[in-house]
Amino acid sequence: MKRQGIAEALRDGIAEEMTRDPSVFCIGEDIGVPGGWGGAFTVTLGLAEKFPGRVIDTPIAELGFTGMAVGAAMMGMRPIADVQYGDFLFLASDQLINNAAKMRYMSGGTVKVPMVMRAPIGATGRGSQHAQSMERYFIGVPGLKVVAVSTAYDAKGVLKAAVRDDNPVMIFEHKLLYGSKGARAEPGAVDATSEIPDGDYVVPLDRAAVRREGKHVTLLGWLLMAHYAMAAADLLAAEGIEAEVIDVRSLSPIDYDTIGASVRKTGRVLLVEEGPKTGGVSAEIAAGLMEHCADSLMAPIVRVASADVPVPFTPVLENAYRPDVARIVAAARRLAQS
């Protein structure tokens, strides 16, 4: 057992998978440069020295190296690719969506694409182009699995499960949760450390996690918003409102079993999402819950999300853009009383 942050836990998870399986390798920008940072958020720090030739620094060419990861995966390798900021996935999305996700289907089930694509997201004082919540663009792509990790325990377990999965898996991570240290530390970071067991473990790619039990209202969130929802639940409890908090975690497929069970208990659902309200993952969950458990809903599902604007730079507006604990509490209170 040791206490680790997400960056460390991912690093160990990658190292363990690389040790276990020689077909695993890393590919991305600035991930293994001597004297460098181990990627934008230190996740691969030291791995290049440990696994010579298996941590591949690429030119700045997201479409190209993503396509290479797809091709290598088809030939039996298990690449772990990453982009420095999720926003750059737009450059790579043709290879992810048109090739990685469809190759198995259009080959009649004869091709496998066991690759992992990691991407940091979240608004963090960098302005519009290094801030977007990208998960919405991938949950509607058949053939991709999409996961978001908000604790170090999950990060390691999901990473390992993803590496071992025979399909393309996208893992979204949040810049404020990495616990990156030193020069790469983030202002506004939130503690996402966990006790990490010593042995091997995986976290399934298709299960939500109940983080706190409650009976009045179900709060659904992921990444930073899962943490904010927990903080909100604390405050709500002081008012006598017992919120159940679920970290949705698996964004595609969505775990309607776990979430549905909660909804049947509370009858009230508040979705919390970082990213503009329109067209987000919350829309899918809201629509899906109406299909799965409309009978249990005692009030309309509510979404608390960011404003429908690009991410502003100035801290005043960035903070107003993103849901915060106060907004979650207020919305949950209204919902619980409705």
Binding site: G67, A73, M75, G109, V111, P114, K145
Partner: protein, 339 residues
């Protein structure tokens, strides 16, 4: 041969006769049969499409047969190719059967992709062909990645990546080729330069329209070859494959050729100049190779006719079976999404 536009790459020298005598009869007749097979396959598919019995869309390669055949003849069975929307010729050259391809085009479960792929996505991994990538240039990074896998796995395979002249303008070309060059990956980058990307002539999209010359910018070797000379293509491909296997890849082969048929479906090619078409028709790769073969004492006109007859028979049987081949049921819709 005269190319009308002065800005185009120089015409390759006329076929090197010595190549003809380096090979034995069976090998040469084998190449000839593949060429004829592709031509007849394409003509029959066109007919079936126009008559309305075959579904989908088509992008065909009549006139370009020598590129596919010449390159694939230089590969081993366990080498790979990647292809495009225009992949029928590549597939036949890499050893896919007429039957699995026709079944696929008819949407049958016995097709090489169980009917889920279709004309633009023909492939068969067991035979070394990735399903065609119909996104222009989308196969280039993919092939570079396959080659990276071979290198990391210390396997001797190479991958030949087919793409068109039009693909050279795409960012995917640039990114994939640069990394292949950087890491000396075993990929033969085969540009089938048929002078057109869809309806657009190459000189409208490249100011300096020699594709092979692009290799130098990335620091590796490129070569322009007469793509309508199957032996020249084969020889160039053999050199390229050998370099790749020796860890000296990649190599860019620019194969000059011409599409005799529409870009897709019912396209009448009004954008191709008449004199250009005629000049290229006069250097049809199959007629030329047939004439060359007859220059050998051990090949007769009857041999060539026998090839043609055999091919026609094969295709006829294939079509009859494909028309009867089993169609999927609705339960098949949701299979094969995840491994």
């Amino acid at each position: 041969m005269n190319l009308p536009a002065s800005s185009l790459p120089p015409a390759p020298a006329v076929g090197d006769a010595s190549l003809l005598h380096r090979h034995d009869r069976d090998f040469l007749l084998g190449l000839y049969e593949r060429l004829v097979l592709i031509r007849e396959f394409e003509e029959r598919v066109k007919f079936l499409f126009l008559e309305g019995t075959m579904p989908g869309t088509i992008h065909q390669c009549q006139g370009q047969e020598a590129t596919a055949v010449g390159v694939c003849a230089a590969l081993q069975a366990d080498d790979f190719i990647t292809s495009t929307f225009r992949g029928h010729g590549h597939a036949l050259a890499k050893g896919l059967t007429v039957q699995e391809m026709l079944d696929e085009l008819f949407g049958a479960t016995t097709g090489c992709c169980k009917g889920k792929g279709g004309s633009m996505h023909l492939g068969n991994m067991a035979k070394g062909m990735v399903p065609g990538i119909a996104i222009v240039a989308g196969g280039i990074p993919l092939a570079a990645g396959m080659a990276l896998a071979f290198k990391l796995q210390r396997r001797p395979q190479v991958v030949a990546c087919f793409f068109g002249d039009g693909a050279v303008a795409e960012g995917a070309f640039h990114e994939g080729v640069n990394m292949a060059a950087l890491w000396n990956l075993p990929v033969v980058l085969v540009c089938e330069n048929n002078l057109y990307g869809a309806s657009t002539r190459i000189d409208k999209v490249m100011k300096h329209p020699c594709v092979a010359a692009r290799a130098a910018a990335y620091g590796f070797r490129g070569e322009t070859v007469d793509g309508n000379d199957v032996l020249a293509v084969h020889a160039a491909a053999q050199r390229a494959v050998a370099e790749c296997r020796a860890g000296q890849g990649p190599v860019l082969l620019e194969l000059l050729t011409y599409r005799r048929t529409g870009h897709s479906r019912r396209d009448a090619c009004h954008y191709q100049a008449k004199d250009e078409r005629e000049a290229w028709f006069a250097r049809d790769p199959i007629e030329r190779f047939g004439a060359q073969l007859l220059g050998r004492s051990d090949v007769s006109a009857a041999d060539l006719a026998a090839v043609k007859a055999r091919v026609e028979q094969q295709i006829q049987t294939g079509v009859e079976r494909a028309r009867q081949a089993p169609q999927p049921t609705i339960a098949d819709l949701t299979t094969d999404v995840f491994a």
